[in-house]
């Protein structure tokens, strides 16, 4: 099987153009994650400029506007995104240094208690406040070509603290503290600071938030965060960027238990999640659902991708969004084939 183009042709129109101030919702389930689609969004926005720079030379993109991406990820680390993007020929670290891409890390220190630097080494006084916990011991090994031996035994705390300061790629690490909207506001400020740094002129900034629903699930009503607060949070971020892509989990226990058809009462985690995701779907320009085949697993189909108009779809949009259902297959090498039902 030949290697697939990084951007499946059938998907390209959906991925490459987002309308101004639009929200695209990507829903995933346990057996069909959305990471590959997020990577395709990254590729669609970032590859043009990087290709034209490398192959044709420094040439302006056709519309004169540069596309930039800010990725906020709550469940997956920088290493994952970097290595998977590399499979698509996208060097995120380089794009980050070119100010076209920024990564906001919502994984590594979101709930870490800030007292851990005291127990740890007095290592990095140079790092920002967000970086004072746990200097990642693996960092030097992750820089290709700088330290040849990854498991260098001399890789102690002292040597690790200096390169961790120059930690590539990660613009900001989010830290959650406090309760309710104040905590969310702090997160919003952190993300907005990164967005502002990217914004130089009238560039189009695409904000990708990977699974903000986790934030809702892991805090909940006891910390005074509900679906309404999360919706406001997303809205606040949306105002500052050109367009937004948001992924969330849409497993049936998370959505359907809330309808109270079952015998048991819905727990807050379920009802809040349902309210959040349904509210976002009503606001979204388009909804892309990822799920597995209902008929069971198949050897050459990974799952179903359904693209539909969301509640926020506006009729005056000149390019009408075609609703369709496609199958996708993810190869072992990470390449993705997207095809209609009955095609191969």
């Amino acid at each position: 099987m030949p290697s697939q183009p990084p951007l499946p042709p059938l998907l390209a129109p959906y991925l490459s153009t987002q309308q101004e101030s639009s929200l695209t919702l990507v829903s995933s389930i346990l057996g069909a994650t959305s990471n590959w689609l997020v990577l395709r969004f990254l590729h669609a926005s970032l590859s043009n400029s990087s290709n034209s720079n490398s192959s044709i030379g420094l040439e302006e993109p056709p519309n004169g506007k540069q596309k930039k991406v800010v990725l906020v990820s709550f469940l997956r680390g920088w290493e994952f995104w970097k290595s998977e993007a590399k499979r698509l020929g996208l060097d995120l670290a380089r794009l980050e240094s070119k100010q076209q891409f920024a990564y906001v890390d919502g994984l590594s220190e979101l709930f870490n208690t800030p007292k851990s630097p005291a127990t740890n080494a007095p290592a990095s006084p140079t790092g920002g406040p967000a970086r004072t916990t746990l200097p990642l011991r693996q960092q030097p090994g992750m820089l290709p070509g700088r330290t040849p031996a990854p498991a260098n035994p001399s890789l102690g705390k002292g040597s690790a603290s200096t390169p961790s300061n120059a930690e590539p790629g990660v613009s900001k690490k989010l830290y959650f503290s406090g309760n309710g909207t104040t905590a969310l506001d702090a997160l919003e400020r952190d993300i907005l600071a990164v967005i502002e740094k990217q914004k130089t002129s009238d560039d189009e900034i695409l904000l990708i938030i990977d699974q903000p629903d986790f934030l809702l699930a892991s805090t909940g009503p006891s910390q005074a965060i509900g679906a309404t607060e999360m919706m406001d949070w997303v809205m606040g971020l949306q105002q500052n960027v050109h367009s937004t892509v948001l992924t969330l989990a849409a497993d049936s226990p998370l959505l359907h238990n809330a309808s109270a058809v079952g015998h048991q009462m819905a727990t807050p985690i379920e009802s809040e999640h349902a309210a959040f995701s349904i509210g976002l779907a009503h606001r979204a320009q388009s909804v892309m659902q990822l799920r597995t085949l209902e008929t069971g697993a198949a050897r050459d189909v990974s799952g179903v991708l359904r693209i539909s108009r969301g509640g926020g779809w506006s009729t005056e949009a000149e390019d009408s969004l075609e609703e369709r259902e496609l199958l996708f297959y993810i190869q072992r090498d990470g390449g993705v084939r997207v095809f209609g039902r009955g095609e191969s």
Partner: protein
Amino acid sequence: MSFRKRNIGLSTGADRSTQPNATQPTPPEATPGIRPSPDDGRPTTSTGAPSLDNLLAGHAGLPMGKSLLIEENGTTDFAGALLRYYAAEGIVQEQKVHVVAMPEQWGRSLPGLIGTAESLDEKRSDRRKDERMKIAWRYERLGEFGAGVAGTRGAPPAASSAAGEQDPNAKQPPAFCHAFDLTKRLAHPSITNMTFIPCIPTAQSPFPAILDRLRTAISSSAPSTIHRILVPSLLNPTLYPPESCRPEYVLQFLHSLRALLSAYPTRVTAMITFPLSLYSRSSGLVRWIELLSDGVIELCPFPHSADNLTTSGAATSQEEPPQGMLKTHRLPVLHERGGGSDQNVGQDWAFILSRRRFEIKPFSLPPAEGDTEAQETAAPGSSMPKKSDLEF
């Protein structure tokens, strides 16, 4: 595609990992118990149960930096057996084993070492040699045909035997996986290295204290130390205080555990077992716990009364009857990329726990043996004419 994949040898796999994938530094070859995955060269470690290793999406082991959630229905403790294998394997490989919320007696119940996994396989195949029809000598390397999880295109059993047999230069490389006997007790010098992290009930969440201990233990150890984190029976009320079931506590714990794993992508693995009888899979909390794990496997043991039913499920009288069904809901790495294209996904698996092994094999429904009698007795009374009555 299968043709191209099969041509990729072990060595090229390792090369690929260093060049395009330099983000994952493979630990030096000397690290015992770590080997590159035949699929993409990332470092993996054994779970202590060879057939579980082979189930994990062609990596022939649990990739480093990943977590595995094993859910179990009912009151049996098959997941606990898997966890003990995992702990024992870590001890034999001299990795650091951290056990969360279990008393220290648990460490004394680990299964005893009886050799490497290959040696057990050889013994088994010797015993079977006479009974088995030989197809062709060169296919033998491809693993026990039909007897277990045949490796995905990379053929993990072949890879392990290739490392052991085909390479004449390497004399007896350190074993990747060992065999254990559940009736014996593990005696190994490094068994005292296990750390037991108690779950101390507090007014607040008990988890930050556990995480702090894990974090300091990992960050203060030598960079070449490999760690295993075991979380037996998460949220079991005999181990955890009732407040710990609050979603914000347990989800924040699992998220931080995930952060810890991703901070040390080549040094830590984790295995969590979870009682499904107490927390149903159809609840939102359990679904979030699953979403926060890299691999999710569900064990559904057959009820005890079904024993006589399932004896007929074995294809031959020599095979042990399956003790339960195994479902793979999510596999490490594969599903993170999007998932679904592995031949191990969506299959019906059955598992058999015997004294010496935990075996996972494709499940097949038994032939309806009991029905033959029913048919015969029903035949005279029915309107179906006998064969002799039919004339053509």
